[in-house]
Each structure stands twice: as C-alpha cells, then as structure tokens.
C-alpha cells in the first residue's frame, strides 16, 4: 500500500516538474537558483543540504512551495463523479445550444463570428483603449446569450441519470444522485465559524468599537507577518479569521499565486493585441453585458473602463481554456474572407468562455482591490479558473452549480420546512429565487465590502459551499416577510435589496453549535 502511495507521489512529482519547466516563471527561478549556487553559501561537498538551506534563507524555497501548492489547486484532476458521462453529455448538449444561438444571432444581424479589424477600426480602438466607455459601437440589437433563469431551466430539465417515476413532480433537484454536505458537514468544514471564534468582518456595532479595533490591529500585525513569510498555505489559513481591508489585495494575490512579473505584462499586451486585431462577435456581447450591469451600478460604474479591458482580454486568453478542468465545448471558426485552412481558423472564443448575463460581475469586485489592470486581470483569471467556471457549467462536481443548488434545496427542506411548503404551495421552485445569487457568487447583489468578506471565505476554505448556505440563511432571515407573499414577483421583491445583510455574523449564527 505504502509502495503504491510512494509511486503516486513520485508520479505527481514528475508531472509537476514537467509542467513547471514549461511555465513562464521557471526561467526566472532557474536564473535565481544559478546565481545562488555560485555564492559561497552553497558548498560543493555538501551540495544538497547547503543549497536547500540557502534557498530557505533567500525565500526561493517559499516560491517553489507556492508553485507546487498552486499546481495542486488548479491542475489536479476533476474528482470523478459516478455520473460523469451523464453530466458531460448534458453540458455538451447545452454548449451546442449556446453555439447555435450565437450563430443564429449572427445570421439575424448579418455579421460574422470573426473577422479582421480594418486599420482604421484598429486605430480607433487602440486610441480609446483607456476609455472604452466612449468607444462607439452599436450594440442595441445584441442580447445576452442566456441569463441565470435560462440556465435554471436547463438544470431543472436535467433528466436524472437514474430512472425516476414518471408521475413525480419535476420541480426539485432531489432526484440528482449527488452527495452534498449537510449542516453538520458544513460545521466541520467551517470550523472557525462554527466554533464562534472572533472573525474580522463582524459589524463593529456588535462589539464595542475599541474592542473591534484592537482585534483589527492584531489581525493586521499577524497579516503582515504572513505576507513576509510569502507562503500561500499560511495565507489561506490566515484568511479563515477574516482579513483587514488593507491587506486583502496582497493576501489574495499570494493565495492565488497571481503576482505579476514582467512576462505577465507582455502576455496581457499580447491579449490586447489580439483584441485590436480581430473583431469577434463575442466582443459585442461583452460590451453589452458591461453596459447592462456595471455601467448602471452605483457600486461599480467608476470601474467601467477597466472592466472593458479586462473582459475583452479575457475572451482572447487561450490559457483559460487550457486550465479549465471542465473543458468547455468550443467552436472552430474561419476568419471572414480567409481561406478555410488551419492557419485561418481560430478557436471561438479563444478562452472558450461565453459570457451569460451578469458575467461581468465575476470581475467587478476585484476593481476595489487592484488599481493596476494587469494585476487585476491575473487575480480575476485565477479566481475564475479555480472557482467561478463551475457556477455556469452542468457538472457533477461537489463545487458545481448542480451540487450547490441541491445543497441549498436539501437544507431548506430540512431546516425550514415551513418555507419549503410555502414555496411548494405557491408553485415556485425554491432555487428560482436564489439562482442568480448562486451563479454570480452574490456579486452585484451584496454591497462590495460584504461581498469581499464572502469571497474571503471561498478562498480561505477553498470551497463554494458557503454560497448556498448564505442563500439559505438570507431566506431564513427574511422568513416572516416571505411567508406573507405568494407570488414570484413579490418574493423577489422581498429578496431584492441585500444592502442590510452582514455576511459574517449571519453565517456564524447559522453555523454555531447550539
């Protein structure tokens, strides 16, 4: 048994080494190592030990460890789910529908999926790159390809992989043979919350304010120490008890391994160049989505211009497609007016990600943390590749939207049967009122400060399971008002304004053991 384990570690190590050698950060590390070896601190007769010690002293050790840690987080294989084939088929079917819809929109509008921008078009775009909100492009005929409610229909229509009785009502996820966490499991996972430990982000009015600022000061000192250690797993552990606002940007960057190096800038520049060169139909969808969301949002409108840059470049990023564990389906498109050969064929879109209504909201909150668009881009990209892509995919992963919806539904049934019955009586699917919260990870729904507290928890516990829990807790919090109304419209009205929600105290109350 030990032998097999050893072997598998050995194989993983080889795989990591291979991947690392081809990564852009390898060159820099290798150079630094060479320099280190030539210093007197590394001795020829005690090469291994003296090198390891020197690496530790110079912080190269932490860098290498971080690399392994980030590899484990992003490259690890999807956890096999017994019904993988079923979900994969459903997703392929859904991808096809999306692609069909894109194609028919193109036919309807008389445009092409991909073409080369003319010199003047390219020039205009380049000139307005810094203020794309003033880039005039007619998008009034474009519609978002799908909205959360459309995706919900897809989920609700999933014919379970196991047969079920024909007569049973088709309005719950319960037929999905997925194992999801119950409250007891969540209490184990979110141990710091359920133990009632003091967590930053609790309303200062709840504690005496001098007490709170003492806690904050303490967390700041500790946080600074964590940052000097520069070791990602420690930063992740630190985040469990909340993060002072002024350290969040750095802590997140460290955990996500998204520090920007010079080659990141040139990479981003190449993405920009691709945006300038090709006119992809998806650009309009991105612009439309920003227009429909961030541009009208009093929390995010100031960041409109940077969001255009980040999201347009994101669509061109082939690494996203490469790194996504749930390989999305993509189209191969021949550039308009070119011969149909491999040279003129591009993957459409290069990132493989087709935005839905509200996709912008995955990126918007990062604008509060980072001034530099490039730094913002890489943090957002890593966050998306690690977590958010599962929120709009049909998959059986415990972190996928299907499992999250099921988790929410089961908990509602278990802990708030009166609400459950109320929904049933009103013929409203309980997931319907929370699907947009779940799909957008609450972005655009919670005020930014609260949202960042919530995303702290996603990173700290490396899990999205906090999202359905928060959705449930908000419903319970507003239960009395919900029970008074019967229509979907009124229920949505009760849940529309989340500006009074304090994330950490609510979650802590729900997880505290009695």
């Amino acid at each position: 048994m030990d032998d097999i384990k050893d072997k598998s570690i050995h194989h993983t190590a080889i795989k990591i080494c291979e991947d690392f050698k081809s990564s852009p950060s390898y060159q820099a590390l290798f150079r630094d190592l060479q320099k280190l070896v030539s210093t007197p601190s590394v001795k020829y007769d005690d090469f291994k030990d003296s090198l390891l010690k020197a690496m530790k002293d110079n912080g190269l050790d932490a860098g290498l460890r971080n690399n392994v840690y980030h590899w484990m987080k992003t490259k690890k294989k999807e956890i096999a789910c017994p019904h993988d084939t079923f979900f994969r088929k459903s997703q392929i079917h859904w991808d096809k529908r999306i692609h069909k819809s894109l194609n028919s929109m193109c036919t309807e509008l008389g445009i092409n999926l991909a073409k080369v921008r003319t010199v003047s078009e390219k020039e205009e775009l380049a000139n307005k790159w810094g203020e794309l909100s003033n880039y005039e492009v007619d998008i009034h005929k474009y519609r978002p390809v799908y909205a959360p409610k459309d995706f919900l229909e897809v989920l609700l229509n999933l014919k379970g992989p196991t047969t079920r009785n024909k007569g049973s009502p088709k309005w719950e996820f319960a037929q999905m043979p997925l194992k999801v966490k119950n409250l007891a499991d969540l209490r184990c996972l979110y141990l710091e919350l359920s133990r009632g430990e003091q967590i930053l982000g609790i309303n200062s009015s709840m504690l005496s304010s001098t007490h709170y600022s003492a806690l904050e000061a303490e967390r700041m000192i500790l946080g600074e120490k964590v940052l000097t250690k520069n070791y990602a797993p420690i930063a992740q552990e630190f985040l469990k008890k909340g993060c002072p606002q002024c350290l969040r940007a750095k802590i997140w960057t460290l955990i996500l391994g998204a520090e920007v190096k010079p080659y990141h800038y040139s990479y981003f520049e190449s993405l920009k160049e691709s945006v300038l060169q090709y006119d992809l139909m998806i650009d309009k969808l991105i612009i439309k989505d920003i227009n429909l969301t961030a541009s009208n949002d009093d929390q995010y409108f100031v960041f409109e211009d940077v969001l255009y840059q980040v999201l347009l470049c994101f669509s061109r990023d082939g690494d996203v497609l490469k790194d996504l564990s749930t390989q999305p389906g993509f189209m191969q498109v021949v550039i308009k007016g070119k011969q149909s050969n491999t040279e003129n064929t591009i993957i459409f879109p290069p990132s493989g990600v087709i935005p839905f209504h509200g996709f912008t909201m995955y990126a918007a909150p990062f604008c509060y943390l980072y001034d530099d668009p490039v730094q913002l881009y890489f943090v957002f990209r890593t966050f998306y590749v690690r977590y958010f892509h599962r929120l709009h995919r049909v998959c059986g992963n415990p972190q996928g939207v299907v499992s999250l919806c099921l988790q929410y539904e089961k908990m509602l049934q278990c802990f708030e049967p009166s609400l459950w019955h109320h929904f049933r009586k009103c013929q409203i699917h309980p997931v319907r009122v929370v699907i947009k919260w779940i799909m957008r990870a609450f972005s655009g729904h919670l005020p930014p400060e609260q949202l960042l507290n919530l995303w702290d928890l996603i990173l700290a516990y490396d899990s999205l399971e906090i999202i359905p829990l928060l959705a449930l807790v908000i419903l319970v919090f507003r239960k009395d008002n919900l029970l008074k109304v019967n229509t979907l419209q009124n229920i949505e009205a009760v849940l529309a304004d989340l500006s009074s929600i304090s994330v950490i105290p609510l979650l802590q109350m729900s997880l505290l053991k009695d």
């Binding site: 606002q245 009208n296 100031v302 509060y368």
Partner: protein
Amino acid sequence: MLPKDEKFVFPDLFPENKAAKEEEETTLNQAKKGLQEFLEKNKERPNMPGCKFTVTMRVTFCTDLDKSVVVANCEKRGWMHVGPEDDWNIYWAGTQTCRSLFSVDSGYRMHDNQLINHFPNHYEISRKDLLVKNIKRYRRDLEKEGNVLAERGDSKYLHLDFIPVTFVLPADYNMFVEEYRKAPQSTWIMKPCGRSQGSGIFLINKLSKLKRWSRESKSPFQQQLTKESYVISKYIDNPLLIGGKKFDLRLYVLVTSFRPLKAYQFRLGFCRFCTVKYDSSVAELDNMYVHLTNVSVQKHGGEYNSMHGGKLSVQNLRLHLESTRGKQVTERLFDQISWLIIHSLKAVAPVIATDRHCFECYGYDIIIDNKLKPWLIEVNASPSLTSTTANDRILKHKLMDNIFSIIVPPSGMPDVRWNKIPSQEALGDFELLIDEDLIHLHEGENSSFLSKNNRWK
C-alpha cells in the same frame, strides 16, 4: 471595626414622636390624593402651569421648498404642516426667505419654541470670496497669537493649508499676478462669487487670457458681468483619479451653534464623478465635463447615467482606498477632512450672527489630490435635497431624519433654552465633530480625557 450587620434595626429611641410621624404621613397622603384628583379633572386643560404630565401639543412645521424629503420626514414625526403666517415651530426655508425674516423691516420676533434652518449671515461661509477672506483672517489671527496651529514651513501654513491659493478679482488682481509669476504655466480656475452649480466657471493658463476676458466683459453688452466679482484659485491639477476619472466629495455637516461651536459630520456622503476621463492637457481646458463634477453640469453631458448619477458612496471610496493604498493613509485623509471642516467653521464662527433659533446643514465640497490631501473647494448653505437616484433618496431621507433628531430636544418640542447636547442615540449617522460646551465640561473634570478625545482644540 465591627462587622456590619445588615439586619440590624436601630431601636426607636423616641416613641413619643411616633404619633406625630403617623399624622404627618396621613396628611401627606391626603395631599397627594387631592393633587391626583385635581390633575385627573384637569386632563382636558393640559396647559395648566405646574402640571406634571407631558403635554401632547403638536409640533408645527413650515417649508417653502417643495421638497418631498422635507415634508415626508416632518409628517413621519407627526408634525403639522402650516403656512409661514401661522405659528410654526420649525421652518425649513430657502436662504432668501430666511434673510427677509431676519431683516429689521420684517419685525418678526421668534419665540422660544421656534427653529429655523439658516443662520442670518450664512454667506460668510457659503460665498466663495467671504469664505476665503474669513479663513485668511483666522490664520492671521492665530499667527499673531503665536498659536502653533499657524506654524509655517517654507512660507506655507503647515496645518491650515487646506484651501487652494485664492484671490478675489478684481480687488486682488495685483497680488494674483505676483503669485502667478511664481509659477507661470500653472492653471487657475475662475468662479463667480455669488453663483452656484458650476455656472460661469472657466479655466485659464495664460495671463493674456485673463486680460482678454476682463476686456471683453467690460464691453457694453455685458455690463452685468462687470459688477460680478470673481475668485481665482490655483487649480488642483493633480486630483486623485478613480477609474481614470476625477471626482469631488460631497459631505454634510450640521451646525447647531457657532458660539459655542457645535458641529456634526454625516457619515454618509458621496463622490461625484465626471463622466469623461480626466485630461489636464491644454486642449481639454475648455471641456467642462472633464473638470467640473457638479451634477448640474454633468447632467447635460451625453454620458450621464441616471441609474447611478455618477455618485459613489463615501464608504465605497474608503473601501477602495484602504484596499489599494492602505489603512493608515486612508485614515489620515479622513482625519484631515474632519480637521479642515472644524477649522473652516472656527474661521467663520466670530463673524456669524449667532442666534439660538438657528441651525444649518452645510454641503462641503472637497477635492482630494493624488497625494491624498483634501482641499476645501466650497461650502454650500443649501445643499441640494433633490434625489437623482434611489440611493440618493435613501441618503437624503436619513440626513433629514437625523438632523431633526439632533435639533429637537428629548421633549420633542423645539426649545432654544435646551443645552443642545443630544444623546448618542439621537445622532444617528452623524458623528460629533466638536462641541465646545462638552470640551469646557471635560476641561474642568478630566484633563486626560481631553487629550485623548479632543484632538481638534
């Protein structure tokens, strides 16, 4: 010493007095009963002097602004809407009405249960030229006293340098030219003293442009303009930008008294953003959408969005600054803002006609530069109560509600004899900036408290 026995009862050493005592008690009880009956009978006439229970007399209010936020807030409190001729307790008036009410000709004398929302000569702070004059005088006076606050370094005031260098034109023209010559090529902003909402404002970067303007404005067609005086201020050409855009801060400050000074700062405020990316180049000097943040200006721009109105909350500004620049510098910025508010008020306090019937809510306009230093641009004595967005409406409702909670004493009836020290709960979203009564109170009893909590003195 012997331990104390709690159960021990002192023996009655004078039993003969017992009877007298009992008699006294009976008489007292009878008297109490009599009073009770008397009060019971007179319930219908609650204005009897000496009557103990609270009088439920309705507070009346009057307003000549057709603003739903004023009326709704007063009505929510159960106050009765009356006309200006009636007996009002609270008048929310425009500055004109207020001035004529206070003028000698009106002959109006307010009684103790009346409050009005302006000080008679509020223009000492709200007129651009007078504000500058008062602040300059305040600094000079402190300097004469040898006060450390007026300390200078490199010819600049170290602690009181919170307004851009400003001159009144045409009066200070020569002084302006002298200052201009120190740094030619710098940009200056011209504002008419008496106007608001960004009208009549323009930028200049050459002396010749100013000369041409003054020549043109003297032409017979524009006789009107010559009478108008202007302030010319050094333009803050390195404003802090967020998302590449310039903004200013609108903060609300309530003053319930100038002597002693009692002022409160509203925690909720907002940043007003320009719709166009900031560009300090000469080519854009005449594009006011780049430079002026006034909603009334921006509204006419093609890019204006009525969903957010170009307004970002101060809390979100703070979140962004703390996240990107750090806690310490952000806190210092907000401390400096409170500092400049207090000193601008102290600067006008000696000249404001103090009247116990008055309170006033000021709209402070502040620009932050890219070194995170706040600059006071101007003070508005009638900040707009019109709401441009949903969040704006919520903010202004809260503002009105909290103002009324602070100015009305616990009894619920406006009363100028009250000491104007509201309870902590009454403050709502206001924070105490300064209360000279409280400072004097604490000075007497606890000097260590003073050093901790009164950093503004």
